[in-house]
């Protein structure tokens, strides 16, 4: 395989503590190495920034609700499509890109890995078909567990071993990556049109609380020693005052320690924190509680978070929090799609316009930035937009601009119709911190990789790691004249090497590379009870046979990469 040497670049690698030093990066046979021969291809990164490929910890890019969003929004593609060009297939979709466009856009921004945030297990074949058709980037998917009938029944009796056995089985048959929890208990209540808005609201019929579900799944996660922690979208998303439910959820981590062989230190990952940091009692007195939430996370090292930044675009919300989407369509009267999934979960989709002229949207924007600016440890705070919920992932460079330039933030605030309200209801006006390139590398590479249990493989430039190297047209030695240059530089990298193959050159795709599907293969102890329960539920309650549910042949996952977990010795 090819050898590369990236010369003269300013390297930012939190894994090795390199903070912008001029250093050569050597690549051979898909890995970072100490040195290469004289025939290595030279990429000159003089006056440029070099980082490991970025790691997307949470985005909705592949699966049934994503595609439902595409199907039901032809207007998302009006006048904005890109034609077939060279080796690039045609692309379309402003807020919900097609799979080809998704892969190309992530690669052009220097992303190596993306995690599909929520996979309904019954639909695993669909998720994997879309992952397979997303070029270049490695992907994994998180099956959802927080409203699963097996989990609800086992955890009612606090049967951690059985829960763990079921989780292991489900991860294996769906080739999933982690235990995702969305609106625990509430989405099962939604099967009857109801919801759980606090951690203590019992789930109809199953009579278990969200607190018991979340705590139990965290215990099962550590019992198995999985690479990632439980990844949670707590109850009560998006409602004024919801920060209390968020803190109640975070407090469930108390007393738990991470147990795994992957270097992961957190027991819980809180996702799109912006949507969960609201105070006030209604949309009129709506205010930021970013400080209260980040205070707690700052003090508790067993929690990692991602931001969920609002980008002020017309976008599409989509989530397994079915009842929330029903609530949202009641507010904005825009078209509402919903799919309840038997025994497992649900999903909802509603378009949304984050207008800078609406004070609530502007406050949401501010909260999304307050959170990373108030987080003390960039290794535990990652930048996302919960794509496409708070904005399309193609806006990440704009979010970086706002974080790295107080001037850019001030410009945006000046443009708000209700500027005074934004300043009174949040503390964005008082925050002058500017994220550095090193911190950006922590928040977009090394941090998410570590949280996912992939620290040995990606997110850094240490010899032995995968050769995912991104080069950006930004010179750390020059002060930034115009903050828009930050956005421009991170939108199209000068070059991107993925698994040792150059896939992007001057912002253009030059190769499809060799994408992999990352999944976790758990070897667990035999559990005849759980095996029998699974069998019984398929015979009685599922609409598909067990054999067909478990079918995930090679044509779905043509290039799998299994992370092995041995949970037989627990």
């Amino acid at each position: 395989m090819s050898e590369f040497i990236i010369k003269n670049g300013h390297v930012f690698d939190p894994v090795q503590g390199i903070k912008g030093d001029k250093k050569d990066i050597c690549i051979k046979d898909g890995k970072i190495v100490d040195k290469v021969g004289s025939s290595a291809k030279v990429i000159d990164a003089k006056d440029k920034t070099v980082m490991a490929g970025a790691v997307e910890i949470h985005a909705h890019v592949a699966g049934p609700k994503v595609n439902l969003g595409r199907i039901y929004r032809p207007e998302d593609k009006l006048f904005s499509c890109t034609p077939t060009k060279g080796m690039e297939r045609m692309g379309s979709g402003a807020s919900i890109p097609t799979t080809f466009k998704t892969g190309y856009e992530y690669a052009k921004m220097g992303f190596a890995v993306a995690m599909e945030a929520a996979m309904p297990p019954l639909f695993s074949r669909h998720v994997h078909e879309e992952i397979r058709d997303t070029p270049i980037i490695d992907e994994g998917a998180f099956p959802v567990f927080g409203n699963n009938w097996f989990v609800l029944e086992y955890l009612k009796n606090h049967e951690i071993e059985n829960t763990a056995a079921y989780c292991a089985w489900l991860l294996n048959v769906t080739k999933g990556y982690a235990l995702k929890v969305v609106n625990p208990g509430g989405t099962e209540a939604w099967g009857w049109g109801l919801n759980c808005l606090t951690v203590k609201d019992p789930v109809p019929y199953f009579d278990i609380t969200p607190a018991e579900i979340v705590r139990g799944l965290m215990e099962a996660n550590e019992y198995l020693g999985l690479p990632h922690s439980v990844h949670i979208h707590p109850n009560n998303l998006g409602n004024p005052g919801c920060y209390e439910t968020t803190l109640d959820t975070l407090k469930l981590t108390e007393g738990l320690k991470a147990k795994n062989k992957f270097g992961r230190e957190q027991v819980l990952h809180l996702t799109h924190t912006q949507f969960h940091s609201y105070g006030g009692t209604n949309w009129g007195d709506f205010e930021s509680k970013a400080k209260e939430v980040t205070d707690y996370v700052n003090k508790n090292k067993t929690i990692t978070i991602d931001t969920g930044n609002v980008t002020l675009d017309e976008t599409t919300t989509m989530t397994a929090d079915g009842p929330f989407e029903h609530h949202l369509t009641g507010l904005n009267h825009l078209k509402w799609a919903n799919v309840d999934v038997e025994l497992e979960t649900a999903a909802g989709v509603v378009p949304y316009i984050y207008s800078p002229n609406i004070s609530v949207c502007a406050i949401q924007w501010a909260i999304g930035l307050e959170i990373p600016l108030m987080m003390k440890d960039p290794m535990r705070c990652y930048i996302t937009t919960d794509h496409p919920n708070a904005g399309p992932f193609t806006r990440y460079p704009r979010v970086y601009k706002w974080l790295m330039s107080e001037k850019a933030r001030k410009q945006q605030i000046e443009g708000f119709k209700h500027k005074d309200k934004v300043l009174s209801q949040t503390s964005i006006g008082t925050l002058d911190r500017e994220i550095s390139l090193y911190e950006l590398a922590q928040m977009t590479r090394a941090g998410p990789a570590k949280s996912l249990g992939l620290a040995a493989m990606c997110g850094g430039l240490k010899p032995g790691m995968d050769a995912d190297v991104a080069i950006y047209n930004i010179n750390p030695d020059k002060p930034i004249a115009n903050p828009d240059d930050i956005e421009k530089a991170f939108s199209r990298c000068a070059a991107f090497i993925k698994s040792g193959v150059q896939v992007v050159n001057n912002g253009e795709i030059v190769s499809n590379g060799n994408k992999r599907t990352l999944w976790v293969n758990v070897k667990a102890k035999e559990n005849p009870q759980v095996a029998r329960d699974i069998n019984e539920k398929f015979v009685k309650y599922y609409s598909m046979t067990q054999a067909n549910y478990e079918a995930l042949g090679h044509h779905f996952v043509p290039n799998p990469y299994a992370i092995e977990v041995d949970a037989t010795q627990v």
Binding site: Y72, R73, P74, E75, L78, H333, K335
Partner: protein, 266 residues
């Protein structure tokens, strides 16, 4: 105002997509440059000059440009697409998307036009002296933001789905209309001087429909609300007033619920 006259010389075998026939695309160009503007016949890119004879130079801006389209353009789509100013006169019948997404200017079609005329119109004036096809002044698929401004006059009949998801502006049809008028509308006005069929005002949130002729079947969601005298185009007449669609959601203005209004001449 400068006038550019384009006369069809080679009819397309299939259909011609000529979204460059607009004052905005022609502005600032000479006849030779206009002839070089791109058009498509199926997947084959071509130029306007291969199909049309082009005479005259355009004005400096769209507002200074008038276009006269002569000859048989029954198979030409997108005439007047996205125009913002200026004038277009189509002398014969034209195909789909006449004036689609227009924002201003004046477009006159002396013959019939096909479906999707004035899609998502934002402003300007469209006069169709013949008949209009389906989806006149309607929204694009999936978009809840339909026609929001401007004026359309159809001297003949219109097809189905007139004014779907309309938000503003006015459509007047001198002849008859087919099913589905102002479905899902949230504003705007449609006046039908001839006869309507059925499914008029279905799922309407707000807006106004005036029917002079007959209406085969009234939507059950339209509740009788007495009689009024209206002045339409300078003449007064008595109309039965209906409010609705009572099956749909409605907004409140100053604490009072606002319904859509349907007037049928008595």
């Amino acid at each position: 105002m400068e006038t550019v006259t384009i006369t069809i010389k080679n009819a397309p075998v299939l259909y011609l997509e000529a979204d460059t026939i607009s004052p905005d695309a022609f502005a600032g160009k000479s006849a030779a440059q206009i002839a070089e503007l791109p058009v498509f016949e199926g997947n084959v890119p071509s130029t306007l000059g291969k199909y049309f004879d082009v005479k005259g130079n355009a004005g400096a801006t769209a507002a200074d440009t008038k276009i006269v389209v002569k000859g048989d353009v029954k198979k030409v789509k997108y005439i007047g697409f996205k125009m913002t100013a200026g004038e277009v006169l189509i002398e014969g019948p034209a195909d789909q998307y006449v004036g689609a997404w227009m924002k201003g200017g004046k477009l006159t079609a002396k013959g019939d036009v096909g479906a999707f005329a004035a899609t998502a119109m934002k402003g300007g004036e469209l006069i169709i002296e013949g008949n209009a096809g389906n989806y006149l002044g309607a929204a694009y698929r999936g978009d809840w933001r339909g026609m929001s401004g401007g004026k359309i006059l159809v001297m003949g009949n219109a097809g189905s789905d007139t004014g779907m998801y309309m938000l503003g502006g006015e459509i007047t049809i001198n002849g008859n209309v087919d099913v589905h008028v102002m479905t899902h509308a949230e504003g705007g006005k449609v006046t039908i001087k001839g006869n309507a069929a059925s499914k008029v005002g279905g799922q309407m949130v707000d807006g106004t429909i005036i029917i002079f002729g007959s209406l085969d079947v009234m939507m059950p969601g339209f509740k009788p609300n007495g009689e009024v005298e209206l002045d339409v185009d300078g003449s007064k007449a008595k109309f039965a007033h209906f409010i609705g669609d009572m099956g749909e959601r409605h907004k409140k203005k100053k604490g009072v619920v606002v319904y859509g209004n349907l007037y049928k001449k008595i």
